[in-house]
Symmetry: C2
Subunit: 456 residues, 2 copies
């Protein structure tokens, strides 16, 4: 059945093209329309050109629109794939990290509650309520956990948050010599906070294989990679293994990238726990990623305007690992599948309130996105990992919805890197007055949104 | 109606004598028996002698027993007033603070979850289940919040936690020129975490009077006291007023003594927020308190053995402010009263689980201790003050019940004063191997109780 899919924040070229590719390769979505929306005209043009020509390459009959106008993009949309962010712009993040470093915070760990991206998500969801109230929003931009919770609480829009962190189980399997294709797994939790509760290989518990690898091979694995100057993925880092030892379940995907504050206090500590140069979450590591992204965009841009380059040669003709289009196919054409989704809990993950977005497996077909009720996580994982994050998310949403500036200050005070009340005040003030980036113009000014309590 | 009241940890002489006094002055408890239990024979003898002679002074017909044996003390008890603690022994606390200072922690803020006192409480409650299953335990020893929750979850014993922190509203009233007798108030929450939700003076909202005092008089009040070298009570400190500004409700009693980590990082910071020499919660402040207690005990001891001194001259003949005996009178003789109690929530304080002990007002009469359902606390107070403490308490209980050593380590890592993983490891190890004090011999060794997860 043909549908209209709006890709909001379409300027993420590689991601958008992966979605186009998946649509081209989905029989049941023939004749669909894709609308690209972004506020950056240059990348919008690049993605539009590549998409049109890629569809030609595959002989697909999709049609493509593009617009700079949010409301226009939402007209008649059946699905809105939302990747738009205000502050996850790499240059803005870099600037913010540098600013934080001036006040004594390593790698931007200031604790300031999220505002920009959540405000944008809420604005978009409210627009959807008016313009396309029956459309699904598939949320791809961060923060997925707080954003999915916020939009489903504050609007009637159907939201499903998606991430690819759960594929981390494959990295674990490969490292310990198991074929990921033959692994049966489950890793529920909150987005970026998921735990491998089930891990079977050809019908047998695979945790003993992991334990043997840790005991006999992990040290050699880390040393060898370090000698060879190779990076170690966070999924297989010393940090991940310590977290596994603490909780008895392997942390998956972005989970081991995070963990306790003590893994992230400075570069030396990062090197020790994540190996090599300290992984991607360091100023230098992120610069490398930023350069890679910039290079990639320049390649895309030349390809878009070079008639001799065919997009199929760049992107291939195999489906991506993104779940979005398969979920659309399931919902629209009853082409059933199992996915890892973020949706309001309503009992799927025991011990978490109903209106909090959890990351769980789901069956998707014409009946909808139907979460599988999973067994409870161990109490220790709830108390030390899940509930603290739930609480932080609730504080972030309450700060946003109440506009209470003292809750922003509390967030900075909560950062484990904050050493004094004055430091927190100064850091907050600097963050509130950071020079704006382009996307900020599209949401309310943070300084207008937040006010101090009376009598402050 | 005559009852048997067991005072467990009776060696807290001043507190025990206050209870005896209240019993002597309660008509309905004529003919009752008081059993003093302690492991310290010297203070047990002092309290017993003083009690016998005090009852003579007032012509009361109470009878007194004393014992070093826990089980014996519980035989036929109708009420057990439990003040016993293992680690709140002042000398042990001092030693522990000194040890913590060696590892870089100011005033013992190591984050190690409570073990000793909770284990003792649980042991006593289990004994009560066997020996006097219908008796009430009135819990006076800390931690009241975790202890009341633990004992009511793990045993069938009726427990009511009591504290006097809520009288802090009187200090606020007096400071701003109001007669506490004419104040109508309410301050629910968790023990040591209570908030003045209602504050009326002669039928009018008294918060504007407090606001005017803060605006016009607080600075002069602090400066004048500091010039005169007088201590400022935590209830009226700069810290209390900042907390009030953050939350819109005045923190009461032990609440402003605590607040965020940033009030307690070092002596200079304490001086700034609590005035004078930094208040009681500093090494020097606590030493003063310790000396005062020691002096008081010596006075008690001489009085006990000096036939010329009559206890009534020391203790007077007015009822104390402790709630314990009035609560017993309410339960036994239907002499109804309103009290501030800590009991499992079951809906009294909205937003808190049923099986968590909350501090709320209660009507006490023959029907029992009946909590008043109070309005919800502001969301911000829940998210920034109440829920974090609830979570910490749950972690403490889970650590205790599971005996998982890595949860002890997590607690130390959670201290805002911890700077690195290694520091936490070393601090924990030192705390586990601190030289034992006498009461420790009466509970399981912490090093036997806790074990590391397998594969650690």
């Amino acid at each position: 059945m043909p549908v209209k899919v709006t890709i909001f924040g379409a300027g993420s070229v590689v991601f958008s093209l992966a979605l186009v590719k998946d649509m081209c390769l989905t029989e049941g979505l023939k004749g669909s329309k894709v609308c690209f929306m972004d506020i950056n005209e240059e990348s919008l043009d690049v993605v539009h050109r590549l998409a049109v020509r890629y569809a030609e390459d595959l002989g697909s009959d999709l049609t493509f629109e593009r617009t700079l106008n949010r409301e226009e993009s939402l007209q008649d949309a059946d699905f809105v794939i939302n990747t738009a962010t205000v502050s996850h712009n790499e240059y803005f993040m870099k600037r913010r990290r540098e600013l934080a470093a001036e006040y004594g915070y390593f790698y931007g760990a200031t604790g300031m509650p999220e505002y920009h991206n959540l405000q944008l998500m809420l604005d978009v969801a409210k627009d959807m309520e008016k313009i396309c109230p029956d459309a699904w929003m598939l949320l791809a931009g961060n923060p997925v956990f707080a954003g999915t919770t916020l939009m489903t609480r504050e609007t009637g829009v159907k939201v499903c948050g998606l991430c690819h962190g759960h594929y981390g189980y494959q990295g674990v399997a490969r490292a310990i010599g198991l074929d990921p294709e033959r692994v049966t797994w489950q890793a529920p939790g909150l987005n970026h906070n998921i735990w491998l509760t089930h891990f079977y290989y050809e019908g047998k518990d695979a945790y003993p294989v992991l334990d043997a690898w840790i005991k006999d091979k992990s040290e050699a694995f880390w040393e060898e990679r370090e000698k060879a100057g190779k990076e170690i993925s966070a999924q297989l880092s010393r940090s991940a293994i310590l977290q596994y030892k603490m909780y008895g379940l392997m942390p998956i995907g972005d989970t081991p990238r995070r963990g306790g504050w003590w893994f992230h206090t400075d570069l030396e500590t990062r090197k020790r726990w994540y190996g090599g140069a300290g992984g991607g979450d360091t100023p230098e590591g992120r610069d490398r990623i930023l350069k890679g992204k910039e290079k990639k965009f320049q390649q895309m841009k030349s390809a878009a305007y070079d008639e001799k380059v065919r997009p199929v040669d760049l992107f291939g003709n195999k489906r991506s690992h993104e779940q979005h289009i398969s979920i659309i196919d399931g919902l629209v054409n009853d082409n059933e599948g199992q996915f890892q989704v973020n949706v309001p809990n309503h009992g799927a993950l025991p011990g978490i309130p109903d209106d909090v977005a959890v990351e769980v497996p789901a069956i998707v077909n014409m009946k909808g996105i139907q979460p599988v009720r999973v067994p409870p996580l161990p109490k220790k994982v709830l108390l030390e990992c899940i509930y603290p994050e739930w609480l932080g998310m609730e504080r972030t949403l309450e700060a946003l919805l109440s506009g209470d500036m003292s809750m922003m200050l509390f967030g900075v005070l909560e950062s484990h890197q904050t050493r004094s009340y004055e430091q927190a005040q100064e850091m907050l003030d600097a963050l509130l007055h950071i020079e704006p980036n382009e996307p900020m113009a599209h949401i309310e000014d943070i300084n207008d949104h937040y006010t101090w309590p009376k009598n402050w």
